[in-house]
Symmetry: C2
Amino acid sequence: MAHGRNPCSPDSAFPLTPTTDDGIDEKAFVGLFDRLAAAEVDSITALGSTGCYPYFDRDERARVARLAVEHAGGIPVIVGIGCMRTREVLRLAEDAQRAGASAVLLPPMSFHPLTADEVFGLYEDVTAELSVPLVVYDNPGTTRFTFTDELHARIAELPNIASIKIPGVPATPDEAEARIAHLRAVLPSSVTLGVSVDPLAATGLITGCDAWNSVLAGTVPEPAVAITRAAQAGDSASATAESERLQPLWDLLTRHGSLRVVSAIAEVLGLVGHPTLPRPLHGLSSDERADVVEVVERLALH
Amino acid sequence: MAHGRNPCSPDSAFPLTPTTDDGIDEKAFVGLFDRLAAAEVDSITALGSTGCYPYFDRDERARVARLAVEHAGGIPVIVGIGCMRTREVLRLAEDAQRAGASAVLLPPMSFHPLTADEVFGLYEDVTAELSVPLVVYDNPGTTRFTFTDELHARIAELPNIASIKIPGVPATPDEAEARIAHLRAVLPSSVTLGVSVDPLAATGLITGCDAWNSVLAGTVPEPAVAITRAAQAGDSASATAESERLQPLWDLLTRHGSLRVVSAIAEVLGLVGHPTLPRPLHGLSSDERADVVEVVERLALH
């Protein structure tokens, strides 16, 4: 596992943005950041998908960025600036930089499906105005845009492109290694790769990703940090064993989606109120929550 | 073709929301409304998908709603209130009603994929606060949410549900008729059905839809009104013939997406400036525009 000097390596925790009826639950938000600082994650990404970035307005997002930097205990903070319109993305980038973000994370949100040239244009417009590194957020499950490797390569040549948050890697180590090697071959060596999809993170880190963009780490950082540290030390066996121990949790994430499961865990652990997701999102049903409680206890998540 | 007393019947024109670098091109927007009023469309829907609703902020959307009602020449105006978060949808509904909208149009925008219960909850929350009719906007191509007939039936029982804007109908008349009959059987008779997907509109109107939610009518109203009037008069042959005449246009819509083609037509006709779409959206390439120019001339669109 190699990684560059880059705020996006090697373990980036993606916390929730807890809400109340009226707005952001700032006390709970700050509490999550205190936990992450204490667990010594390598970076924290506010307003990623888990942080529900499209559900908040500009003022709320600026406030979240300021709180995040203030309560990260010196750990680099990356701020998500995804938005439907380029004009708004530029405003959010300005707000994030003013708040002291070490980097920004940009997904190509789409409504009318975007062409490759339009997505390139978005990154071109934004990096031209930016003075901090940018992480390309490749998350087709929420943005509904699918990058080609060719487009990643074009975007990676733009100034300030630091990293790509890729959606996952193939589940078998050989295929994962081939995938990462293929992607690296078309990218400048300065651009790091971060794996998402928590159940695939150990495989991704072992087979050549520089970072893990972790939903789990944003709420329950210890096991995520343990996997990352083992992979960093070249101890693939320990990284894999810890990931395998968490299989019942990975099964829940796969079944219900990571946001709903992680927000239920945060509720069960008393880190956020209930409900904590912005409507129209609902939490899990009470049966589904009971499964979460069982897994939290069995795996001693805390 | 039957239709109820409902602001959403039988021909609803979906105009663009032309933009400039700075904001909304109000002069062009008002010009489009003057055209639609002169063509005597039955209703006008501002801020539908063609009106690019998710690209504008609350103030812009309130302004669009006011301008729309002011310049519709007494024709009922429906205003799109789609937004990621229920709280914002409620605010947009308030603004639309204050502007004098005759109805509102609500798509279930999604980011984290929504469950059926969450979508029902959205319509429940919004209709509880509403004093004008609501059109359910079933548009999976942009919202990425797919309704089941069962969910349509549940939502149709809520107060103020006036109509469902369905994405399309099967291309063959027999299958279209069966599809419409099946949907009607599960819905209250007060709820009308509006077909979208312009190339399928004549088939939809002939086989039992009450309305056509028309992208074409928002920019080039005459042929759309002609098809609708023929279908209303029971003259299926004329409706079909006019739709078949427009086949070169339908081919372009299918190939490039209706928004890009219709905005190019509006540019070619001098109704809007260039570019008129909000970034990151680009217009068509110059080759693609040349195809549009050719079709506009061949079909004598004006």
